[in-house]
Amino acid sequence: MSGRLGAVTAGVWARVRAAVAPCLRVWRRIPRAGRACFVIAFVNVAIWSVVVPPFMVPDEISHFGYAQYFAETGKPPPQGPVYPYSRQESAALQALEFGAVYGSQLNRGIFTSVEQADLRTILAANNYPLGPGGATTATNQPPLYYALEAVPYWLSPSNDLLTRLVFMRLLSALMAAGTVLAVFLFLRELVPHTPWAWTVGALMVAFQPMFDFIGAGVNGDNLLYLASAVTIYVIARAYRRGLTTARSAGIGAALAVGMLAKLTFLALVPGAGLALALLAWRARPSGSTRALRMLAIGVAAAAAPVALYLLLNVTVWDRGSALAGGLSSVTSAAGSGATTVTWHEIFDYTWQLYLPAHLPLLGGLMNHFYFPGIYPLWQIWLDGSIGHFGWLNYTFPLWVYHAFQRLVYVLAALGAIGLWRARAAIRPLLGLFACYAVMALGLLVIIGYTGARDLATSQYLFPQARYLFPLLAFYALAIVLATKALPRRWAPVLGGLLVVLAMAHSLFAETLTISRYYG
């Protein structure tokens, strides 16, 4: 009997090893510094995931609700006009005093053993995990992130909701670490002769506190960031080394993951599609047919999973129509909501979201003025990146934002010098950067479009700095360019100092978070 058991165990072990072996081979091919950056990022975000109390990452209640519904039923929520959450999640939110804590700066959660005992009693009495799956801010999203979160949900050693959340957050931390690794590999392609710069850029992302904060929670943005960074990387790799069938399929697969992760990713697709076409064009010397075939493989790899998703929406999941899973929310015409929004309003809003509303040359171009009294480039994007934590309800002292603003001026100047010094190396990559520019522009436009529509219907200030994080790879590249402004002997020193500054920034953001929720 024991011999048979031993044989079965050995068989299972052999299969596990066989399954893991290709992954290990890929892992070993990554430079040691890249693997170290991955581990550092994972540990850092895992620490964050313990520091941030349950459901205090923006929209975590909705993302957890979606993931729990998917884990329990194997399909996305029907998102009808019914209550969205399970009894288990509702009870947890109530016992954790979520309603009072999330919208306030001074309210706290559980501070006494009496309340802790109450929480345990309530969770034990309300352990039914399946809710009606009503509409939330997350339910119109595609299901890939939530399907992946179903794995730690079921691997959790306990059915306790808060324990499941711990393991689900660790998967998000793993995705954040993957994003950092993709940034490392992206920099390896763009600055191949400066290995220290790969580490500096990747660690700057690993210790970006808002990235860490979002990575600490169950939030679909984490897969979006990963897919975006991987897409940017695989495009750079194919551009530098030439398009092959595998690389084309890789670009397509990264695009498919992104599109099935979060609809925001659609903003990057035109730029990525342009890059794929450009890569195929550059591959013509090896044969037009071959180039076309590689292009087709990339397109098919991107489109097939999305087509399957659309098909599942109307068949197995019965979500009304192919687009009912949420594509309609970004493809429907402006003004289809309760309040009409004109294209001019969308243009004005989008412009002012990133650029000054009052420029001498603009004249009467702007008909509408949004954001009175604030300049979004600083107050939303920069200050938001420095730290608007929780459900946007606690921040650093004001002087921190002013100090960072000055640092940004210095880094921007250094970046411009670095760009000039690296112009000879950049020139052959202009096509690549043009594609990246289209990707970035797509994201900026979709944020503006969504924000304008949202403002018209809800008067809610929609934009948050994290919406730009799909472009984190470019942030890392900008940092590397800034270091390149200095002479060769001093550039690594500046890189190291910037990484320690980012680490300190992340550390103080953690102490701020501890004081907010536990102090």
């Binding site: 919208g103 959660g109 006494t112 306990s158 808060l162 500054l501």
Partner: protein, 222 residues
């Protein structure tokens, strides 16, 4: 030489960070002991109205064992320039035992954050009723949140509950609060966490810093 330059720069940056952390943690300020989970600052004005001689009670609420004062928004119903009457406060647990008492002497200023002292130390954290016995003849209104909790005045249910913050005694630095932070850090989370969690997190963060610095020195030596 390149490695030495990097070592010195990173060393100075780490020392600067450590100094900043020590300064940050040494700042003393009043520290929270908890709240009654009614949104602060108060969302709704006048959720409870109590005349002089009346008793306002918040039921099924928890008094933290480290609460040395109760802060809540109290106003005069008619003339907000007048001083508050004497207000006695007591907390009775759900077994009927009086856990804590205190008195705000007559003449305190009304406002959005009136501080009512408790005799400290008092009994352990308990679930029960917090009651304010209002002296004088004037009518007071308390701000809070409509529909929240269970609050009565002379036994009559009110529209909502007052917003309350509980504060610990005096002013404390984060160093002095470390033991309390350690305890609180394990609450409101999975049962796998507890008092051990914060020390382990601190050690993990230290190890991470140490590891990253070593890694940086190796990678940046040029």
């Amino acid at each position: 030489m390149g490695a030495m330059r990097v070592r010195i720069a990173l060393g100075l940056a780490v020392v600067a960070t450590a100094i900043g952390l020590v300064i940050d943690m040494s700042g003393a300020a009043p520290r929270l002991a908890g709240d009654d989970h009614v949104s602060w600052p108060a969302r709704d004005p006048g959720v409870a109205v109590v005349a002089g001689g009346g008793v306002l009670c918040m039921h099924a609420t928890v008094l933290p064992d480290d609460a040395a004062r109760v802060v809540m928004p109290i106003h005069d119903a008619l003339d907000q320039s007048k001083r508050l009457p004497r207000i006695a406060i007591d907390f009775t647990d759900d077994r009927g035992r009086r856990v804590a008492t205190g008195v705000l002497a007559r003449g305190a200023a009304e406002g959005p954050a009136v501080s009512l002292p408790l005799r400290y130390p008092h009994g352990p954290s308990a679930l029960g009723s917090l009651c304010l016995h209002v002296g004088g003849h004037r009518t007071l209104v308390i701000d809070g949140e409509t529909g929240a909790g269970t609050t009565t005045v002379n036994g009559v249910a009110q529209a909502g509950s007052p917003a309350i913050l509980y504060y610990r005694p005096g002013r404390e630095s984060w160093w002095q609060l470390l033991g309390t932070l350690d305890f609180r850090f394990g609450l409101g989370k999975s049962a796998i966490f507890g008092d051990w969690t914060l020390p382990v997190i601190v050690l993990a963060a230290l190890a991470l810093w140490f590891g990253v610095l070593r890694f940086l020195v190796r990678e940046l030596r040029g």
